[in-house]
Symmetry: D2
Subunit: 303 residues, 4 copies
Amino acid sequence: MDHLALLERIMSEVGPEIGRGRLADYIPALAQVDPRKFGFAVADLDGRVVGVGDWEEPFSLQSVAKVFGLALVVARDGERIWERVGREPSGNPFNSLVQLEHEHGIPRNPFINAGALVVTDRLLTLTGDARGALRTFLREESGNDEVDFDAVVASSEAEHGARNAALAYFMASHDNMDNPVQTVLEHYFWQSSLTMSCRDLALAGLFLACHGLRADGSRVLSSSDAKRINAIMLTCGTYDAAGEFAYRVGLPGKSGVGGGILAVMPGRGTLSVWSPGLDSRGNSVAGVAALDRFSTLTGWSVF
Amino acid sequence: MDHLALLERIMSEVGPEIGRGRLADYIPALAQVDPRKFGFAVADLDGRVVGVGDWEEPFSLQSVAKVFGLALVVARDGERIWERVGREPSGNPFNSLVQLEHEHGIPRNPFINAGALVVTDRLLTLTGDARGALRTFLREESGNDEVDFDAVVASSEAEHGARNAALAYFMASHDNMDNPVQTVLEHYFWQSSLTMSCRDLALAGLFLACHGLRADGSRVLSSSDAKRINAIMLTCGTYDAAGEFAYRVGLPGKSGVGGGILAVMPGRGTLSVWSPGLDSRGNSVAGVAALDRFSTLTGWSVF
Amino acid sequence: MDHLALLERIMSEVGPEIGRGRLADYIPALAQVDPRKFGFAVADLDGRVVGVGDWEEPFSLQSVAKVFGLALVVARDGERIWERVGREPSGNPFNSLVQLEHEHGIPRNPFINAGALVVTDRLLTLTGDARGALRTFLREESGNDEVDFDAVVASSEAEHGARNAALAYFMASHDNMDNPVQTVLEHYFWQSSLTMSCRDLALAGLFLACHGLRADGSRVLSSSDAKRINAIMLTCGTYDAAGEFAYRVGLPGKSGVGGGILAVMPGRGTLSVWSPGLDSRGNSVAGVAALDRFSTLTGWSVF
Amino acid sequence: MDHLALLERIMSEVGPEIGRGRLADYIPALAQVDPRKFGFAVADLDGRVVGVGDWEEPFSLQSVAKVFGLALVVARDGERIWERVGREPSGNPFNSLVQLEHEHGIPRNPFINAGALVVTDRLLTLTGDARGALRTFLREESGNDEVDFDAVVASSEAEHGARNAALAYFMASHDNMDNPVQTVLEHYFWQSSLTMSCRDLALAGLFLACHGLRADGSRVLSSSDAKRINAIMLTCGTYDAAGEFAYRVGLPGKSGVGGGILAVMPGRGTLSVWSPGLDSRGNSVAGVAALDRFSTLTGWSVF
C-alpha cells in the first residue's frame, strides 16, 4: 500500500480518537484551537512528502521545537552542552522542580523544560538571537519561508510562564544560566510559539532520519550526532511517557502540548502528526494512536 | 546570680565557640563581618535589659525579621494568612523547592523562605509598604529610631537572590502571590537587611514573652496570637534544626544567617544573642551554645 | 473551677466532635471499636487523678506507647540512642519510606514508626524482652497490674504489618537493626497492642510533668531527660500535625491511632484523652478538641 | 571485517578499561571474582556464535536474568503483568523505595528490583516454580544443560537482601504481592544467581533479535512482544544510565552487577559481554566500552 493510502486508512481508523483528551488550557491561546483538527504526514529520504487531513495547516510547535534547538546547539558546539544538561529520562513531569533540586540545577535531559531553557541559554550565547536562529533553521529545513512565531501564543506563554521562570531562576542560583534570566525566558517563549504544518515538520526533521544529511546531500549534523539526538528523543522525547511511546510506537519521537509529534525512522523517513487533544501526560491522543497504527501496519520500528 | 553576672559567666564559658562555624558567605556583605563578634542580652517583662560583649552593636537581622513580619500580619489580619501558608515544620532546608512542589505552592510554614515571601506579599497588600511598615514596627518596639535597613546588604541579597526568585515565581505559578513577584522580592530583600543590636532585639520581642502586651501595658497582639507565634517559633524557628533547638534550649526561638537569635521565655522575658559563625543548618554556633547554657543554669525552658 | 467540673464542661462542649473522623480501619481489630467512646482525665503532680466519660475503660495505646519505650531506653542507656535516630520533625507521614531513604536508614525521630522500631530494637538488646519491659513499666507507673497486651490487636497488627516490615528491613539494609528483623517486629506489634485507660495513662505519664520524678519522689529520669522527651513530644509527637497541635494546644503530646492522646504540662500535671475517631493525620478529632478547650480555659500551655 | 577479527580488535582496544571500576562488593560472593576477566561474543540470526577472551566462562547473570523472567511471563500471560508494573524509566537507582512510595507500590518498570520482584511473584503463580522455570528456559535457549544456579551466590544474596525484602514487603503492603513475601524473595535470589557464559547468553537472547523466533524457526514470543521487550530494554535496561547507554551504544541492552550485558540488534543478532568492574551506575565499564566500539565500527545501532 502506498503511503498516502495508508495515511488515509489510519485517519479513518483513529477517527474515534480525534477530539478526545483535553487541550493545553494553561495557555489560553492554545485552548481555543479546534479539537477536531487532525493532520498526518510522512516524508521519505528523498524529500517526498504526502499527508492527509489538516496536514498543511500550521499549528503551535511548543516542545517539538526543542529538538531543533538542541540540533542547532549540537551542530555549532559539539558535546559541550552535556556539561550543563544530562541525557537521562527524568521519570518526572516536564516542569518538575524536585529532580532539579536534587541534582543541583543540572536538568536531567534537554527535552524537559529546564533542560530546554539551558539549551536556549546556550543558543543565545552562540548566536546572539536564539529565537531568530531557530526560525531561520526551521525555514531552511522545511523550505517554507512562512514559518514564523505566533505573537499571541508567545505573549500568552510569557503571562503564564511563572513556572518556567521558577525553573530558570533556580538554575541561575546554581550558576547554570549564562544570560539574564528574563532574556532567556523571552527567547524560550518565542521559540515555543513557532508554528508549522505537518508537511513543514516532516520535511524539517528529515536530517534526523538520514544520518545528519539533508535530502540534497548537504550535512546538518554528523552521523553520530544525528543518532544521538534520536536516542535522546526515544528515551526522553515524550515527557514521562517515553517508555510507553517506545513500547507502543517504537520510534524516536518528540511531542508538544500543541498536539504535534515528530517521529523518526532512521534510514527510512519521518512522520508528523497533529491533533490538539492531549492525554494526561501531555501527548496527543489521536497522534499517538495514529503513529501506533502506522508502526504496526508498516513495521516501521527501531525494534 | 543576677542576669548580668550570669551573662558574663556564659560569655566566658562559650568563648571557645566564638569564631567557630562559617559565615553566611553566599551573601558577600555578610561574609565580611568579624567572626569574633559576640553579643548577648536579656530583657525582663518590665523592659529592663542587660547585656554583655557586642550587645549594643547592630547586626543584620536576616530571618529573625520574619517573626516580626508575621506578627504584623497577624495583628492586622488575624487568621487569614493561614489559608496561604501552613504551620508545620518543614523537615527540609529553608530554601527547598521540593516540598513546595509536593504541596502545590503552599509553603509549610511562615519561617522558611517561601512562607516568609507569602507573609511579605500579604504585608505589602495590607500596608502598601511592607519594608517600611516593618522598620516602623521594629523602631517602635525597640524604642530606637536608628533601626534601619542596610542598603549594601539589601542589594547584595538581590544580586544573589535567584533561589528566592525561583520560590516566588513558583508560588506565583500556583496563584499564591498577589503582588508582582519582583516587587515582593524587593521588599523581602530589604526586610532581611534590617539591622539591630541585641539590646534592640531583646526589647522588640518582649510582647511575645508578655502575652502580646508591651512593657507599658499596651497591646500588640492578642494573648492567644502571641502564644501561637511562640508555638510556631518553637516548631519551625531554627530552620531544619528546630527539634535539636527545642531539645537543647527548650525555648521558642528564631535565628537568622546574620548570626542572631531571638529566644522567648513566656512570662519571664526574652534573650537575644549574636555571633556570626554558623553551623551546618545556619544557626549561630556560639549563639545556640550560649542559650543552651542560659537555659541550663536558670531553668528557663518551656519544658 | 475544679478540674472535674471543667472536664465535664469540656465533654459537653466537644460533644458534637465525638464520633466524627474515621477509625483506624487498616487494623481490623481497631475498626470495631465504638466510635462514640470518649474519656478524659487530668492528673496533678501529687498523683491525684479525676476523669469523665469512658475514662476508666482501657483502649489500645498504639503509638502512645512509643513515648514510654523511649523513656525506658533513655533511662537505661542515656544519649546513645541518638546515634541511631534523629530528633527532628519529619514533615512526612508516620510510615513514610522516602525520608528514610534520603537519610540512609536513620529515622528522623523516635516517634515515627521507623524511629520507634529502632527504639524497640535497642530496648530488646538492653532488656532481652522489649515488650515485657514496657508492660512492667506501664504497670508500675500507672499502679495498675491489669495493664496488658491485647493479643487480638497484636496479631492483627502483625498480619497487616507489611509496611512496618518494609521499614525495618530497610533499616537493616543500612545496618540500623541489631536484632533479627522479625523479632523486632514482633515486639513492636505487641507493644502497640498495650491497653490502658485514660486514668492509667495520665498517671503513667506524670514523671514527664514532674521533672523525671514520680509522685512519691522517686526518680524515673533525670530532669533534663524529662525536659528533652517533652521537647521531642512537642515537635514530633502528633505525626505530621505537630505544628498544628503546638499551635492549638500548646503542650507536649503523643497521640496514637487508637484515638488516645497523652499531653504534659510541665510543673502542673498530665492530661489524657481517648476518642477513636481520627482526623486525616491520625489524631483523635474529639481528643484534640478537648485538649484545645482545656488549654484555652485553664491557660495550661507552655507558651 | 568478520566478527571474530572485530571482537579481537575491540578486546585489544578496550584493554585499558578491563579491570577498571569496582566489583559488586555488597554481595560477598561477587566481590571475589577476578576483575581482569573479559569475555565478548556475537551471535547471528542463524545461531552462529563467535567470541573472544573469557567468553566461554560462566559468570553470575544477576539482573540480566530479569529480561528472561519477563519474557517467560509475557509469553505465558500476555499483557496482564502491566497491571502490576509500569513501563517507564525510573530516573532513580535500581533499588530505590522513593518512587515506589509515590506510586503506591506499582514499580516503574520490570527491570528495577521492585519490578522484577513482581515479575517473579507472577512467574511463581504461573509455574509453581519460578526459579526452576527460568533455569529450564535458559538451558533450552542456550542449548546448554549445564546452565545452573550458584548456591553460594544465592545464599549470599539472601543474607544481604534486606533492601530487597524492604521493597517486597512494601509492595505487599500495597497488595502487589500474591505469594508469601519470603517465598518470592527466595526465588528472586536464586534466579539472580544463575550463571552462564557469554556464548550461552548471546544464544539465549537470539529470539529478541529475531522477532520472537528461535534460530530453528520455532516461536518464543509474538513479534510485537519481542519488539516491546526490546523497547523496555532500551529505555530501562541499564539502571539509571539507560539514556547514556542509548546515546553511546544505541541498542536495547540489559546489564547485571555481575558485569554481564546482553545487547540486541533487531534483525541482525545479539552481543554479550562480561567484565566485572562496574561504573557508578552498576554497569560494566569495559563491557559498555566494548559495545560502544562495536556499535561505532559496525553501524549496529537502532538509530
